[in-house]
């Protein structure tokens, strides 16, 4: 049953050094505040799982939280590279980063299989490209009825899934709206804990009968963090701050300017309950 906790307490209790952790949110509802709290708490040796690493994983990788990254597209959307990710892959700074690289279709199917309690996912993919040469978890199986050769990947089952949502009710039921990505799948696939930060806690979710809702008994912890997805966005609350994404390119290009920015904005920066506050969105 979902516990109402501070973000600080939830990360302290559920995220351990060496864990595999999936912070999901496909361009929308990216759990920035939670990722930054993990940085502040100094977690190490994490296997970070995420389809689109985005700025938050650039920050976590650059601050040395990760020893491995499982991903399918690692760029700054519409802007260019994730420089900290590249520096880790190309130069091992601040530490070597093992990568397990997939396509979106593979990861989406692997989360789906994880949520469904299956050991693997089957899909029509990885045809004619070189990803199976470099990623050892890609296999192929034959359809037992038609003989068609199809791709197979192991289910994704992170130790901990962390997502951001619009709201939870007081019982801890959670509502996602808009671009819902793989957040529900990631939470259902998690082995130990599903942590959800939300814009607000409400008396009633006011959701349609088929809205994307996680019942409280599959949620481990709910933390109220207004602006917790900033500078990504929360449909119905605030817009994506595209200029922050553009500015990140210059900030992150250089190790020193990156470290200085992190020191100012994250390490000395806002604590959980005011995550978006100094960005003017809370």
């Amino acid at each position: 049953m979902a516990k109402m906790m501070s973000l600080q307490a939830a990360i302290a209790e559920y995220v351990r050094d060496g864990d595999s952790v999936a912070l999901e949110g496909f361009t929308h509802l990216i759990p920035f505040a939670a990722g930054q709290e993990i940085i502040r708490q100094g977690r190490k040796d994490l296997t970070l799982i995420r389809m689109t690493p985005d700025l938050i994983y650039d920050q976590m990788i650059g601050m040395g939280c990760a020893s491995k990254l499982v991903f399918s597209w690692g760029g700054n959307p519409g802007v260019g590279s994730l420089h900290r990710l590249r520096d880790a892959v190309e130069n091992g700074w601040p530490r070597p980063l093992e990568i397990e690289e997939h396509s979106h279709a593979a990861m989406a199917n692997a989360y789906d299989a994880g949520a469904a309690g299956l050991p693997f996912a089957v899909f029509r993919g990885y045809i004619g490209n070189h990803l199976p040469k470099v990623t050892s978890t890609i296999k192929f199986i034959d359809c037992p009825f038609t003989g068609e050769r199809l791709a197979a990947v192991p289910a994704l089952r992170p130790d901990v899934a962390i997502v951001h949502a619009q709201k939870a009710d007081r019982a801890g039921n959670v509502l996602f709206e808009g671009i819902v990505g793989v957040q529900k799948q990631a939470c259902l696939a998690a082995r130990r804990a599903a942590i959800v930060t939300v814009e607000e806690i409400v008396d009633t979710l006011d959701a349609g009968p088929n809205a994307v809702v996680l019942p409280n008994w599959v949620v481990t912890a709910v933390a109220k963090v207004p602006g917790g997805a900033y500078p990504s966005y929360a449909h119905g609350y605030y817009q994506r701050d595209n200029s922050s994404y553009k500015q990140w390119d210059a900030i992150s290009r250089d190790r020193d300017s990156f470290l200085a920015w992190m020191q100012e904005h994250v390490i000395q920066g806002p604590t959980d309950t005011a995550a978006g506050a100094n960005h003017g969105v809370a």
Binding site: F26, L85, I127, G128, S244
Partner: protein
């Protein structure tokens, strides 16, 4: 009528937009493909169905999205589904007429590299990776690619194939119709290329107005072939240019306004 002034980029986007027909179901990559697909929707193809991998089906954005999942896409869509559903029911389900992709590199068989330059384990340049493209490239009924023409992009030999074009030129294994025809058109700022029906090597089939064969060869990393019947692209119309410029102006204003 005085001839219109326009840039090579504008010609590229407009030529790319014309490749889409009204009612086409288009899985849209971010950047150049998104600009072309939305221009098509705002000009000759109002009923084109734009699908972004973030799950938005039938998006009708007023400004171009910076990411594949800007709020604008969801707000204007017919519906928004989860990402697993998008890749399973909508892409793999065989419902996409055109996958519209960009790329960092491509070779003469329109294979795409967006993963790495140099050795995978010791990369010279680490690119973002495949994202949706590896399966868009094979599941969509056909693929359009739009990219700026240069020797850095049009390379003789690629270190990595992220998304299959025509492989080594062998006929495609279509797996009972569930694998598409692959790239049928590449639209650059210089020309339009199409695969030779026999060898599947890319051949220049149309030059944009003012482009020479020499310019295309200059920017291509292999000895490029030209079609026997080499066409000249129709220059942009006043309407196309106006709609495109308005779209870019609205986009600049919208993205600047969010800070």
């Amino acid at each position: 009528m005085a001839s219109l002034e326009y840039t090579a980029d504008e010609m590229m986007t407009i030529a790319a937009s014309r490749a889409l027909w009204n009612g086409a179901v288009c899985f849209v990559g971010i950047g150049l493909p998104s600009a072309a697909a939305n221009l098509a929707r705002l000009t000759h193809a109002p009923d084109v169905v734009l699908i972004y991998e973030s799950g938005t089906i039938g998006a009708k954005p007023d400004v171009l999205p910076l990411s594949i999942g800007d709020g604008e896409l969801c707000e204007t869509a017919t519906t928004t589904v989860s990402v697993p559903e998008m890749f399973r029911y909508w892409l793999q389900g065989g419902r996409i007429d055109v996958g519209f992709l960009g790329t960092a590199q491509l070779d003469r068989y329109a294979n795409i590299n967006t993963t790495v330059i140099g050795d995978y384990a010791q990369p010279k340049v680490r690119l973002p990776g495949g994202g949706g493209a590896p399966e868009i490239a094979t599941s969509a009924k056909e693929i359009f690619i739009t990219v700026r023409h240069s020797r850095r992009v049009f390379v003789e030999k690629m270190d990595f194939i992220t998304s299959m074009g025509h492989g080594d030129g062998s006929p495609r294994d279509t797996r009972g119709g569930m694998v598409g025809r692959g790239p049928t058109r590449v639209i650059t700022d210089l020309c339009v290329l199409e695969p030779d029906p026999e060898t599947r090597e890319l051949v220049v089939t149309a030059l944009h107005p003012g482009t020479t064969r020499e310019q295309v060869q200059e920017q291509t990393g292999w000895p490029i072939r030209f079609a026997g019947q080499l066409a000249t692209t129709e220059p942009p119309t006043r309407d196309e240019l106006e709609v495109l410029r308005d779209l870019h102006a609205r986009t600049r204003k919208a993205h600047a306004g969010q800070s």
